[in-house]
């Protein structure tokens, strides 16, 4: 296992650090203070787009010239050298400054890997080309969770019914990141609730489709910079061409497998985010302790030592999981492990930080307190800590599925 952190990588980390300090942290703190997501028309997002961010990883239709504008050319060559490990380290650094702002950033986001791996060429073109050179901030989102089914994804009840040359969707989704501002939503539905995962279908539902509505932005404990939104589908009619991958895709279990693939790739990412948040908490605690002459207290030093050691361990766990992807090795066990362990380590570090700051943490106006709230979601999203252990259990002790 070898991580090459070359000069280019170091520079990109440094660049993220600079942007974090100047842009990400302040805008995240403001969203937290105001208790609302960053509005879609915030100049920050427009600036990101102008800078060349928020773009699709999809290379574009075959034969498309690679140099479409100078910014684009730079970006695509940077993309070519991007390894998973590098991506993870950047995600850690970005989350250090504010994990919520990172999720709020425009782009095809979470459903993009599904569209790339499952979509037909025509669908990639239709749904991703607008993200190649976006004219304005654009989002897409991934909608699996429902009020009645989260961990148990097989239990989703959003119904898809064939109707002539299209589909009719009925159901409700909740906690979906960036949903109300998304160009389109990847909605997971079932054609047969009794069939479990085999009944699942993924539909791209365009914003403004009649029947898609009832958007409600939830009030969250933390991560306020981005919206987590519930919405409903009422006799929402979707053209047949929006069934991701076309009907043949779903003859096997591949449809569901692909969704899980998304989660799989995301787990080390959540672990990296966790380490970033935890590291921010460690720095707050260390700085506070120094400023208040607490470093002479062995208990304070012990807490700091424990925090640093555990975070380093969490980082090694996610790097290993990411390195395995780069090396083409199956990483399901290691990905789950990194996510399960890093999320709780980071939560512990923020809690220890609160202890060190004492009443100052309880005032509710210190970064450490925000980190303590933000980090909790890391053990919930993309498969809870328990679900990661179920997955590891399947690998290690053949834990049965029921």
């Amino acid at each position: 296992m070898e991580f090459n952190i070359d000069k280019a990588m170091r520079e990109r980390l440094e660049e993220t650090r600079e942007r974090g300090r100047r842009e990400i942290r302040p805008i995240g703190l403001e969203a937290d203070r105001l208790g609302r997501p960053i509005p879609p028309d915030d100049p920050y997002f427009a600036m990101l787009i102008a800078r060349g961010e928020g773009r699709s990883r999809w290379p574009g239709p075959a034969g498309r010239p690679k140099t479409a504008g100078t910014g684009g050319a730079n970006k695509s060559s940077a993309r070519a050298t991007r390894s998973v490990v590098m991506h993870l380290l950047l995600a850690e650094e970005s989350a250090y400054w504010d994990r919520g702002v990172g999720v709020a950033n425009p782009g095809p986001g979470m459903p993009e890997p599904n569209v790339i791996s499952m979509g037909t060429d025509e669908q990639k073109e239709r749904f991703l080309s607008r993200f190649l050179e976006p004219d304005k901030p654009r989002w897409a989102c991934f909608a699996m969770t429902e009020p009645g089914a989260g961990s148990d994804v097989a239990g989703i009840r959003t119904l898809a019914r064939k109707d002539g040359d299209g589909w009719i969707l009925n159901g409700a989704k909740c906690f979906i990141g960036n949903a109300s501002r998304s160009d389109w939503i990847l909605v997971w539905a079932t054609v047969d609730p009794e069939a479990g995962r085999a009944g699942h279908r993924a539909f791209v539902v365009e914003h403004g489709t009649p029947g898609l509505g009832g958007f409600k932005i939830e009030k969250k404990m933390g991560l306020k910079a981005y919206e987590s939104t519930s919405f409903t589908l009422e006799d929402c009619r979707v053209p047949a061409g929006n069934l991701l991958g076309g009907e043949e895709r779903y003859q096997s279990r591949a449809g569901f497998k692909s969704a899980m693939g998304t989660f799989n790739a995301g787990r080390p990412m959540i672990a990296a985010n966790s380490v970033g948040i935890g590291r921010a908490a460690l720095d707050e605690a260390l700085t506070f302790a120094r400023d208040h002459d607490l470093l002479g207290d062995p208990r304070v030093r012990d807490r700091l030592e424990q925090s640093a050691r555990k975070l380093r361990q969490a980082r090694l766990l996610y790097l290993r999981a990411g390195w395995m992807v780069d090396a083409g090795k199956p990483n399901v066990l290691e990905a789950s492990m990194s996510k399960a362990i890093a999320a709780t380590i980071a939560a512990d570090v923020t809690a220890l930080g609160m202890e060190m700051l004492g009443g100052v943490g309880a005032r509710g106006d210190h970064l450490i307190e925000k980190l303590y709230r933000d980090v909790k979601a890391m053990d919930i999203v993309e498969g809870t800590g328990q679900i990661q252990r179920v997955i590891m259990g399947r690998h290690l002790v053949q834990l049965p599925r029921d």
Binding site: N4, E284, P298, R301, L311, R312, Q313, L396
Partner: protein, 362 residues
């Protein structure tokens, strides 16, 4: 750049260590424990493979391997029998104090004579483990309450600013011992024992302690790996309430967490060993790696017994031994508190943002 892949040479070494451990040590675990020594044939085999001089310079006939190799070999040996691993190594962590503080001269004078002496043991203790009346003169009086040995050919006492060696006048009074009995267990007493050599230097002393901690961490990781692995396979065989106990979620989660804890400790150890191999500056990492291994031992050791229930408590199964041995390994070198303290102080000297990073290392 940070590299955790052992590479071909080290993989070969690991294979050799694993075969030796599984073929020679594993079948004799309880025998070695009750005899308080490793079988003479096994000792000869160990020397013959060249494990005794693993880290000695080539000029002294050693294999000149580093901390990464040591971590890997110790894990394999301890996965069979950590006590035997200590008993078999004539130099043990004492060689680090000799090498760092006294250099090749000291190794030649104090280590080489032990290499081929069957059953010889050099021991390293930290100054804090000793109850000495006066450690500054050329004669030493006092005692060491416990060392994992029944025989001491060389004792190196490591202080933060140097070390001294004693070869004669060591009275050995055997104890029952808690864990690591294959290596023995004794109290050492000195009454005006002559100091054979004395070295000073804070930086080399710190490096020596770091290396010693990596050595012990390797043994801990091996012991704990085996504890986790043994209980995992047992839990797949044993049934209760109509299914393998591993398929009750409470136990599945416990087993998974034990496995993950060992993985985490190993990653920290390898990172620290990798750093140590590249020179100084990684002492706090080594302290941290030791702390983690000890913490994991408090979780994995007792739970290894728990997974087997009442059977785990009986000496028919090895898990109770892993619980005792991993506990004992955490008590050497002045224990875990000193390591926490050192890693903590190193961290307190840093300015935020703390990088935590190997990436910025040499």
């Amino acid at each position: 750049m940070f590299d955790l892949s052992p590479g071909e040479d080290l993989e070969l070494l690991v294979d050799t260590a694993r075969s030796f451990a599984q073929d020679e040590l594993a079948p004799r675990v309880r025998d070695a424990e009750s005899a308080r020594e490793v079988d003479a044939e096994v000792r000869a085999a160990f020397r013959q493979i060249g494990f005794a001089g693993l880290e000695l310079p080539e000029a002294l006939g050693g294999a000149a391997l580093g901390p990464v190799a040591r971590a890997l070999v110790n894990e394999e040996l301890a996965a069979a029998d950590a006590g035997a691993a200590l008993a078999l190594d004539p130099l043990g962590p004492a060689q680090y104090a000799l090498a760092e503080l006294g250099g090749e001269e000291a190794l030649k004078e104090f280590a080489l004579p032990l290499l081929d002496a069957d059953g010889a043991r050099a021991l390293l203790v930290t100054r804090s483990e000793c109850r000495l009346h006066d450690a500054s003169s050329d004669r030493v009086t006092g005692r060491v309450p416990w060392v994992p040995a029944d025989r001491v050919d060389l004792l190196v006492v490591l202080a933060p600013d140097g070390a001294f060696a004693i070869r004669e006048g060591i009275e050995v009074e055997t104890l029952r011992g808690s864990g690591l009995r294959a290596a023995g267990a004794s109290e050492l007493r000195f009454d005006g024992a002559p100091v054979a050599a004395r070295w000073t230097g804070a930086a080399p002393a710190t490096r020596a302690l770091a290396r010693a901690r990596l050595y012990v961490s390797g043994l801990l990781v091996g012991t704990l790996r085996q504890a986790a692995e043994f209980s995992r396979s047992y839990a797949l065989e044993r049934t209760a309430f109509g299914r393998p106990i591993a398929h009750h979620q409470a136990l599945a989660f416990l087993l998974v967490d034990m496995y993950a804890a060992v993985d985490g400790a190993r990653l920290l150890l390898h990172e620290a060993a990798w750093r140590a191999e590249r020179g100084s500056g990684g002492e706090a990492l080594a302290a941290s790696a030791f702390v983690e291994a000890v913490e994991v031992s408090r979780f994995v050791g007792p739970n290894g017994v728990q997974v087997l229930g009442g059977h785990g408590f009986m000496q028919d199964y090895p898990v109770e031994k892993y619980m005792r041995e991993s506990r004992a390994l955490g008590l050497v070198l002045g224990g875990v508190d000193a390591a926490i303290e050192e890693a903590g102080r190193a961290l307190c000297a840093e300015e935020a943002p703390v990088s935590l990073s190997f990436a910025e290392g040499p």
